[in-house]
């Protein structure tokens, strides 16, 4: 008889997997710091010109002091090593715009984006999977073709334009939803537990604050989600179609189970497996979208921060954002892989 151990996820296996993935992740992050560093030092613009006033620029002593303070007078490789050293200590440098530690800035901005992204992902997956299954089950009918066009529309719309459009209609004309920011002016944020206003408000039992934060989430969240809904719908449809005619699904029908049971228990699970992949891809496009959406809705997140840093050539901030974004990405991919191994009993973590 040929039976392997019923436990596929052993502590040792998990440990090895994590170690390997984190190792790769670390290498990737180092690579990113290198790239970020090189990029920002290829900048033809001189940070001194960007940060010192006209008169100060005329005085060589001040310029020299500036260079010295920012360590810009040292040889480049040494600057890099110093930077890495500081990184390991959690020091991401001082932002030139806000004159605070970049790490502090980020600790404020990151949760805002996470809240927005999570909202967008949850909404778009729920809607997208539902529509995708519908399109697959009604394959060939007008419903299917209609949904196909709709999802193609979704991925074709320029985010910034949709944001404006939605803004115009729901705020300007109808006044249903707020114009921007995370909370209405005059309201203060709940005491920070997770940094997600909605969650924190709930945890503190501040119901009206929760509602207010939610209201502010709706517009930017929906706009962010449009692109993802389109992708998730198409993907789910393709995935379900692939599974629905497989032998084991037909065997399930041959057992006399109702079509609904067949779809729910036999089709959905294998069909949704690849959704995890889509979700991680979607996350990438979501982060991209945040740059535009946060800009328009005045949402204080890392997208907006990245934009401002880029415009102002705020080197430490740029590097900080790049690193944080990359780390978020790596962690998400890791979680997705772990999720896969839980969902699919055939996968062994290696």
């Amino acid at each position: 008889m040929n039976r392997r151990s019923a436990r596929r996820v052993t502590p040792a296996g998990l440990g090895r997997f994590l170690a390997r993935r984190l190792g790769i992740g670390a290498v990737l992050v180092v690579g990113i710091t290198l790239v970020a560093f090189i990029l920002t030092h290829l900048v033809p613009a001189d940070p001194a010109t960007a940060n010192l006033g006209q008169s100060a620029l005329g005085d060589p002593a001040i310029v020299k002091a500036f260079y010295h303070e920012y360590g810009l007078d040292k040889p480049v490789p040494e600057q890099y090593l110093i930077y890495l050293w500081k990184l390991l200590h959690g020091n991401l440098g001082i932002s030139e715009q806000s004159h605070r530690a970049v790490a502090t800035d980020l600790s404020q901005y990151v949760p805002a984006t996470i809240e927005l992204a999570l909202f967008a992902i949850v909404v778009s997956i729920v809607i997208g999977v539902g529509l995708g299954v519908l399109a697959a089950v009604r394959r060939g009918h007008p419903v299917d073709s209609g949904l196909r066009v709709v999802s193609l529309l979704g991925v074709s719309m320029p985010t910034f334009w949709v944001a404006l459009f939605v803004f115009y209609i729901f705020f300007f004309r109808l006044g249903w939803l707020p114009s921007g920011g995370r909370l209405s002016p005059g309201l203060s944020a709940p005491a920070k537990i997770t940094g997600l206003y909605t969650v924190d408000a709930l945890l503190h039992g501040q119901w009206s604050l929760f509602v207010n934060a939610l209201e502010h989430l709706v517009l930017p969240g929906m706009v962010l989600g449009i692109f993802t809904v389109g992708t998730v719908t198409r993907f789910t449809r393709a995935s379900v179609l692939e599974v629905i005619n497989l032998d084991y699904v037909r065997a399930a029908r041959a057992k006399g189970l109702s079509e609904w049971t067949v779809i729910r228990r036999h089709v959905m699970r294998p069909a949704l497996l690849p959704i995890a992949t889509v979700a991680s891809l979607a996350f990438g496009s979501l982060l991209s979208g945040t740059v535009l959406v946060e800009n328009i809705f005045s949402w204080p997140g890392i997208g907006e921060y990245a934009y401002l840093s880029a415009i102002n050539l705020d080197l430490p901030a740029i590097m900080g954002v790049s690193i944080v974004v990359a780390i978020i990405y790596i962690v998400t991919n890791l979680l997705v892989d772990l999720l896969y191994s839980v969902l699919d009993p055939r996968i062994e973590l290696r």
Binding site: M1, N2, R3, R4, A6, L246, D247, Y248, R250, A251, A252, R253, A254, K255, G256, L257, S258, E259, T261, R265, H266, R269, P270, L343, D344, P345, R346
Partner: protein, 342 residues
């Protein structure tokens, strides 16, 4: 029972008459199954033999209404006197799994890879028979024991990929018999398995039908499989019945040139040193079905009539049915053939 002792009417568990399945191919509408008739009695094993493209799998699928979209059936399929063709979805579900069960070709693809064995084995039992979770589990363990799966309790918590091919097929059989159906349709049950394992599966099927009185329809291209356990054999060619009778007759003294050709082309134990003679040519595709008898291009004894007239199924003295117009039967086929039933 009909005059010659063959199951018919209420004596038959399954009675198929003039069944046809029409498909829409890239070249138009074709009949993949063209007017076949056979029956299966209580506790009997009927073998449906034919090469790929002979329509045998479609025949099996049509019993349970599992044909792909766009296929049309005609004729009659009576299960215990009740007509199955044309049943509504809901009524079909009553039959599927509960009265007629299907075991597919490759257990690697017919058992759900992601669901635990206990779920797969109990869901239809609970749906059809209304068993509680515990009772369904007991039934599952009972069936797994019957098919000789060691340690059934642990097996329930495993997934299909943790078992070997032979084990998986046993599980599939156990799953099919869980609701105690009257008819088991096994589509190429041994084809995907190693030769060493095939014998075990066949013995299992034989034992199960003896112990439980379930009738079995085995579909295969492997005559060796059928020679060992089937009571009667129905040989299909080009979507029609070529020869149909009790196994020792059909395989031992074939009357259809096709059957004769098949037997001649197999290695045989008793006539060691005898050459294996393959049949010239290849089976016809749906789009290029010959006129008249579908086998005539490959038949040594084909006459002018064979080229134009489709032979009807006639009954011979020994009770078998034969679809061949060559008369008198050539001497080459009159003698004893090398195959017997073991």
């Amino acid at each position: 029972m009909s005059a010659d002792g063959w199951p018919t009417g209420t004596g038959a568990v399954l009675e198929v008459q003039d069944l046809s399945v029409a498909l829409r191919t890239s070249h138009g509408i074709r009949r993949a199954v063209n007017g076949i008739s056979f029956s299966i009695g209580q506790g009997e094993i009927l073998g449906i033999a034919g090469e790929s493209g002979s329509g045998k799998t479609l025949t099996a699928l049509s019993l349970l209404g599992l044909l792909p979209l766009g296929a049309r059936t005609s004729g009659s399929v009576r299960f215990e006197g009740r007509e199955l063709l044309g049943l509504k979805r809901r009524q079909l579900r009553e039959v599927r799994g509960k009265q007629v069960a299907l075991v597919s070709q490759d257990p690697a693809t017919s058992l759900h890879p992601l669901l635990r064995i206990d779920v797969q084995m109990t869901e239809h039992v609970r749906a059809h028979l209304g068993f509680s979770k515990e009772k369904a589990r007991e039934r599952a363990i009972e069936m797994l024991t019957a098919v000789r799966i060691p340690d059934p309790e642990s097996a329930l918590y495993a997934h299909p990929h943790q078992f070997s091919g032979g084990m998986r097929q046993r599980i599939a059989i156990a799953m099919a018999l869980a609701c105690e159906p009257r008819l088991l349709v096994a589509d190429e049950p041994t084809t995907a398995l190693d030769v060493t394992v095939q014998a075990g599966i066949l013995r299992l099927l034989d034992r199960l039908r003896r112990e439980r009185g379930v009738s079995v329809m085995i579909i295969t291209h492997d005559l060796g499989v059928l020679s060992s356990i089937s009571d009667r054999i129905c040989i299909l060619y080009g979507g029609r019945v070529a020869e149909y009778g009790v196994t020792p007759d059909v395989l031992g003294a074939p009357r259809h040139p096709y059957t004769e050709g098949l037997m001649r082309s197999l290695p045989s134990a008793s006539a060691s040193g005898a050459a294996m003679v393959p049949i010239q040519g290849s089976p016809p595709s749906l789009d290029a079905m010959p006129d008249g008898c579908a086998f005539h291009p490959r038949c040594e004894w084909a006459t002018e009539r064979c080229r134009t007239v489709v032979p009807n199924l006639r009954t011979l003295d020994d009770g078998r049915r034969l679809a061949c117009d060559v008369d008198p039967l050539p001497a080459a086929m009159a003698g004893p053939a090398p195959v017997g039933r073991s």
